[in-house]
Amino acid sequence: MSGDTHHIDELFRNGMEGHSEMPSPLVWDKIEKALDKKDDSKRPFILFFTQYKKIWMVLGVAVLCIGLLTMGVCYVNSYTEKDINTLNEKAVAETKQPRPAVESPESSVAKAQTLKTNPVITELTNKKHNHNSNKSEKLILNNIGKKEIQKNLSVATQLNQSTAHLSSNVPNKQRLNDTVNNHSDKLAGNSKKQPVNRNSSNEAVANLPYASKSVPFKNKTDVAGSQAIIQSAGNINHNASAVQVAEEQTKLAFLAGVNANQHDLGPIVKSIVSFKPLPNSVKTPTIQATATTVQPTQAPISDRKNVDNKRFHITVTPIALYQDGNIKIQEKPIPPPTPPQPPILWNPTYLAATTYTYNAGLLTDIHFKKRFSFQTGLTLSTQYFMVNSADGVAVERPDGSIKYTISYDIGIVYLDPKFGTKPAIGTIEPIGNIKTSLKYVQIPMLLNWHFGNGKLQGFMSIGGNYTMLTRISLNSDIAQERVKQNITDKEVDLRFNYLNAIAGLGLKWNFNKRLAFVLSSQYHQSITPFLKTDLIKAYPNNLTVQSGIQVGLFK
């Protein structure tokens, strides 16, 4: 034979291929036993889970919901008063509006006593009051003794050289009223003490002008001569005739003074207050008050720690003095015109505001133990925030609309063992990747359910999200972007940590093994309690829509 053996191949191929023959029945028995043995060797939990899948699905969702609610309740109850006070103290220290100074009762009384013995006051009290007089009088009281009386002003009385706001919160109100009563007796020449009519309303008095001004010192070491001038204006009586207004004008007295700022260095301003009715319309009388420092303070302004001590305040508060001796004190000054409300400042804790986010990242997916997948990755996000102000106008961030965030993901996914190392159709996978950046740590707890097949797949998710703001976020953001106004029912107490419930839906269109297009949406519902008093606010609802391309690099 020369080597022509290829016919052998054909012989065997034709004779053996296509032949069917069953082995002995014992083979299947052995296979079955071996498979049973393999199943029993799995961890009881997984075996139990795979056998009663549907029951575990329902139980799992129920446990997750109960767990989230419980965590929410515990969170509410565990928040400490200390945290609130810390936030409030910071807010007060950084507020732009200095508190009006409130003088101690003792100093107020002492000054009132001083005024009583002031020769100018004495002169005035001895003067008869004639409300029909055409003479205007202008009274200037100062501790130097200079005085000037102008026509058409019958009585001007300064009861207190340093005044607080004549509001219901003034601690020395009782003493002030007593002082007023004493003066009213003398002014009216009435031996009977007339009670101050605080409670009865008076239309004229209701519209008395009021003004307040806060003025910085001109010089660094406020030497004598720093001046602050304010004008108070307002309608005394809109419908009154000229005669009536003129009459009422004579009844009006104005109380003006300079607030003694509270500080740790003692009184800093010795005030001089002058009154000057300006030649305005009778319906809008204007009083101009001028305060001038006359003595240098004990310490240079630059050395003063309290921000309030770098300014002094002058106020004009009207008092109606009637001929019968009754004095109506405007207990509550007319509030100054409301300044235009600034737009809501964007708060970085508004994680629930409308955002447009673009993400790009790398995620590694390492399977181990056939049941677990370890995922870790880095994501760069660019976010564009928009917030709706109270009047519905969209507002951008004042410091720029776009923010960049780098976040690091790390987490472990448990996979249904029946579907191997990758989630296939119909799997349920609990997932919890911890996302963290410098400003927050976010821990989601989600159950994902995949459905569909082939090119188009869908997935649903339900769960929760626990976010903790870091100190870096709280310290910088409170100082810069705190919202004080426009508190609405929709705002949610944020504090340091908060919980969201999440529900999501998505679609995945597989172009091929490596490329897919994903479109998904998630709804976040805040489940932390609603409090309006805290400084950090957030919107409770957040709907996100995401779309993107998934590329599998190593498959």
């Binding site: 034979m1 052998i8 065997f12 053996m16 023959e21 296979i31 071996a34 795979t50 029946k418 191997g420």
Partner: protein, 195 residues
């Protein structure tokens, strides 16, 4: 009559899915569909029926264990057949380490007379199987992979971790042996007819 694998694709997919879920009924059904075709393959790679059943058993256990890895992108029977062949090769390799082949080569070189006019189409499966099972393990592997699995010498060499040249010479030797055995059969059958 053994039922052929005449399942349409959808039903087969459903069966596979259930089998993945550890449904014993589905697994048994799959076994019944495939065992009849896979067992002859096991016989070709083994030395005895018992050994073939062992190979079949191991193959199906492996198949059910890794069934989730089947991606529905090719013939299911082909995928199972690969598992069977790999399992069989594993067993044969263990045997090949201790099987002497020197004597057989010497034996082949002495036998020269072969009738080229003989036809062997009436040789049945059993006889052919016996002939293959008599081959040394290495020759048996190479012959089966070349003739029945359709692999090239390069692929066989990679699979068995031998050189391409060795694969070719092993196949030649296997053919020679089989040729010789068939000739023996032919001579003995002609003798009996004469008688």
């Amino acid at each position: 009559m053994i039922e052929a694998l005449h399942y349409d694709k959808e039903n087969l997919e459903l069966l596979v899915k259930k089998a993945i879920s550890n449904d014993r009924v589905a697994q048994n059904k799959l076994y019944e569909l495939l065992a009849a075709r896979m067992f002859p393959v096991c016989l070709r790679y083994s030395k005895s029926r018992e050994e073939a059943e062992e190979i079949l058993q191991e193959s199906f256990i492996k198949m059910f264990t890794h069934l989730k890895q089947y991606r529905n992108d090719g013939s299911f029977e082909g995928w199972v057949r690969k598992i069977v062949v790999n399992t069989a090769l594993q067993k044969l390799r263990e045997k090949a380490r201790s099987y002497p082949i020197v004597n057989i080569i010497e034996e082949i070189s002495e036998q020269t007379s072969v009738s080229e006019n003989n036809t062997y189409s009436n040789i049945g499966f059993k006889v052919l199987l016996e002939l293959i099972q008599k081959l040394p393990p290495t020759y048996q592997m190479v012959f089966n992979l070349y003739v029945f699995e359709g692999l090239k010498h390069k692929e066989i060499a990679k699979l068995l971790n031998i050189s391409e040249g060795t694969s070719k010479s092993n196949l030649y030797d296997a053919r020679m042996i089989l040729q010789k055995e068939i000739s023996k059969l032919d001579r003995s059958s002609s003798k009996s007819t004469k008688l």
